[in-house]
């Protein structure tokens, strides 16, 4: 195996960064839903999800039950892979490269190196360049996003605060990243050097971001999206798509809510459609107010 994860076979190359980032490009404008069973996965696919995240417990339950949250059982993930034709993602703990190796051996489509699970390494993230499988990672700001890209992440998601159903942190993180990029685009090169140093990100990626006027990889929102309006809000703030974790299967009518959120992401700029898909969705997940939550309970601060 080549050390950078790239393989060449008779003129055909696999595992390249273009292919990793390219799959994320195909997911844009879509909704990726957390599912814990094959039945959930089918409901998500039928509702129009562009991918599913297979895991044993949704973040709201991880919060409620406590304990160490680890990679899910491969059998459970495989049963979901067999049940749908859309891409299937799964989570590995931050820094736990062996969990990632196991997920790669299963042929999962995307790995989420996720703060929702209990971190395995409090200093280092996974060296994602070593894998053929693409990774998505969370961020709260531009520096964190570009550090993950430099480690090989082919997709970024703003973290929000998973398992709360409160969109406030997702908004904070998306506004932070977008605001920092807007400031970058007005700097000259001299200032970019200092900015890169200050946000602890590689200069080349800072420069590329400034030139593109956006992150060099696809950027979804995550962590607290519970309604079609939440999803459209994140899209209007400039993200490329939305992850919905607990918000769907912790609500009164998951199938209906899932479909409504998918439609809200496509038609995020059309208030008449947003109005119609927001009607009669049944109960939203109860949720936790992040502002009154003890600091120690917040999981977005995991990741370095």
């Amino acid at each position: 195996m080549a050390t950078n994860g790239t393989h060449t076979n008779g003129g055909e190359e696999t595992g390249t960064f273009k292919l990793k980032a390219g799959l994320a490009q195909m997911l844009k404008g879509g909704v990726i839903m957390d599912v814990v069973t094959a039945d959930h996965a089918k409901i998500a696919e039928d509702a129009g999800a562009c991918a599913v995240m297979a895991l044993e417990r949704v973040p709201a339950d991880i919060r409620a039950q406590g304990g160490v949250a680890r990679m899910s059982d491969p059998d459970m993930i495989e049963s979901i892979m067999k049940s749908v034709s859309i891409p299937v993602m799964a989570k590995a703990r931050i820094g736990h490269f062996v969990e990632a190796q196991i997920l790669e051996a299963m042929g999962i489509d995307y790995i989420d190196e996720s703060e929702v699970l209990t971190p395995a390494d409090e200093e280092n993230h996974i060296n994602k360049h070593k894998f053929k499988i693409p990774f998505v990672c969370g961020c709260r700001n531009l520096g964190e996003a570009l550090r993950r890209v430099s480690e090989g992440a082919a997709m970024i998601r703003t973290k929000g605060e998973a398992g709360t159903g409160d969109v406030v942190e997702a908004v904070r993180h998306a506004r932070t990243v977008m605001g920092e990029i807007r400031r970058l685009t007005s700097m000259d090169e001299d200032e970019l050097f200092t900015y890169a140093k200050n946000i602890q990100a590689p200069f080349a990626l800072v420069k590329e971001t400034a030139e593109l006027g956006r992150l060099p990889v696809v950027n979804f929102a995550a962590g607290g999206v519970a309604t079609p309006a939440d999803a459209a809000l994140m899209m209007q703030l400039g993200v490329d798509g939305v992850f919905v974790g607990s918000g769907i299967f912790k609500s009164g009518d998951p199938a209906k809510r899932a479909k409504a959120i998918v439609e809200a992401v496509t038609h995020f700029n059309d208030p008449a459609i947003l109005l119609s898909v927001s009607r009669n969705l049944g109960e939203a997940m109860v949720g936790i107010n992040v502002t009154t939550m003890p600091e120690g309970d917040k999981i977005a601060q995991r990741g370095w």
Binding site: T14, G22, M26, K28, G48, I86, I108, K259
Partner: protein, 195 residues
């Protein structure tokens, strides 16, 4: 020239960028009314199940079918699936306009996605850099379908049937504008024919 890009889900912005570099301002198509006055349409890559479901919910399937019956339309990856007559499963909505059989996810999962360089018959001799992401393949084509490109093992990856074009790979993920230019020429020659 007005070219639409189906913008329900997927890599529509990449196609729009390609069109802009060629001097064409694209129109995003999300609702049937967006098709009015278009000279051509691109159906991008994305998740074909998602695109199909959104097309059904917003009443786009029949208007898209009528549009593409008479107007140049190009499908890439998921778009190729959408244009095909036969995809081996009934529960996924398709336009069913091209006389081809398409196998979805023909190469396997993401780990089997690949890049390669191969010639395309209707372009010059320079090989085209092709990016295949969980790509489909054409497993059968009727006589009226022209085969534009094949993998080295003979599997069909680009076809044209009159004003309809389909590719299993993603030219919009490269800097090579030749296929986009080819499609724009197709649109031009077709609108001349009508005029």
């Amino acid at each position: 020239m007005k070219i639409g890009v189906l913008a329900l889900q997927g890599a529509f912005i990449e196609h729009e960028k390609m069109l802009r570099t060629l001097g064409v301002e694209p129109v995003e198509v999300r609702l049937p009314s967006d098709l009015e006055g278009l000279d051509g349409l691109i159906i991008p890559g994305g998740e074909s199940t998602t695109i199909g479901k959104l097309a059904v919910t917003y009443g786009l399937v029949e208007p898209l079918r009528q549009f593409a019956q008479t107007t140049p339309t190009w499908g890439t990856c998921a778009g190729m699936i959408f244009l095909a007559k036969d995809i081996g499963i009934d529960r996924q909505p398709i336009l069913g306009l091209m006389d081809i059989t398409v196998n979805r996810n023909a190469f396997g999962r993401q780990v089997d996605s690949f890049e390669t360089d191969l010639p395309i018959t209707v372009l010059d001799d320079v090989p085209f850099h092709m990016v295949f992401i969980r790509a489909p393949v054409v497993t059968g084509a009727s006589d009226g379908v022209e085969i534009l490109a094949k993998l080295t093992d003979g599997r069909i990856i680009a076809v044209q049937q009159g004003h309809l074009l389909a590719t299993a790979f993603h030219p919009e993920l490269t800097d090579d504008t030749r296929l986009h230019r080819y499609f724009l020429e197709l649109v031009k020659s077709y609108s001349k024919k009508l005029a």
